[in-house]
Symmetry: C2
DNA sequence: ACAACCTTGACACAACCGTGTCAGGGTTGG
DNA sequence: CCAACCCTGACACGGTTGTGTCAAGGTTGT
């Protein structure tokens, strides 16, 4: 039948056999098995594996990231809880009144260099 | 004003000061800063921090998981790509015709124990 | 029957995550 | 002015991820 064994699948997908087993282990693929336990990769999973590979490196993801996304998708309750947490106060810097704190971010880059000749920095309002 | 410094915030949230800085670093909180750069935690972020703590341990999540969920939420394109990948062939074992492969999972637990007295295992259809 | 596959399990190892702790240096409040 | 904070950066360290490799044993095709 048109199904590849693990070494063949490895060659056409760019994963190593070792990694194909690992990808299965983290739950992202579940190739069917032959009667004697051999993994069999159909055309569909081969495509899926190529796509996954491409996605991971293009977006700098880890398998664990995608695995977590899968977990979110399968556990609606979890998804809601996480989403709800993220929803609270989603966007910041939450309009800071002082135009002063932005400098902080940039200052910290030059801070070390300028540390010597700075006698007394900003110093204002007590928290 | 009603805003706590990092040690005070640590005590009321259960995080250590070190971890509060870390949680900020991974992008899950962004406490505002005083004029001299001190982190200031308002009531809202304190609550958020307690909730986060609770969520993490109740669902066995890591900060990196929630950070990734945040990334997904903020990058719609990424979310779509990941979702689309997960959508393809979402549910398996994809109805296996042979009632035989289920045994595999259970067998492998007793396999080592039974290895000695098993002269010739299943052996059927050639992949 | 024998080479060339396949299986699981284990050791190994770099890179990262989550944490603590310490150093060097500013800030603050009494 | 001094103790008690705060800041960042660094070293350390156990745990997880991602990966290779090897061992012991079953399967397959010629």
């Amino acid at each position: 039948m048109d199904a590849l064994t693990i070494h063949e699948a490895a060659e056409t997908t760019g994963w190593s056999p070792r990694m194909l087993r690992y990808v299965e282990r983290v739950g992202l693929i579940m190739p069917r098995r032959s009667g004697s336990g051999y993994r069999l990769f159909g055309a569909e999973e081969l495509q899926r594996l190529r796509t996954l590979r491409e996605l991971l490196e293009r977006r700098e993801l880890g398998l664990s990231d995608v695995a977590f996304a899968l977990r979110l998708r399968q556990d609606a309750e979890l998804r809601d809880e996480v989403d709800q947490w993220l929803a609270a106060t989603p966007e910041r810097p939450e309009f800071v009144p002082a135009p002063d704190w932005l400098r902080w971010e940039q200052e910290k880059h030059s801070k070390l260099l300028a540390a010597a000749q700075r006698p007394n920095p900003t110093l204002m309002e007590t928290r």
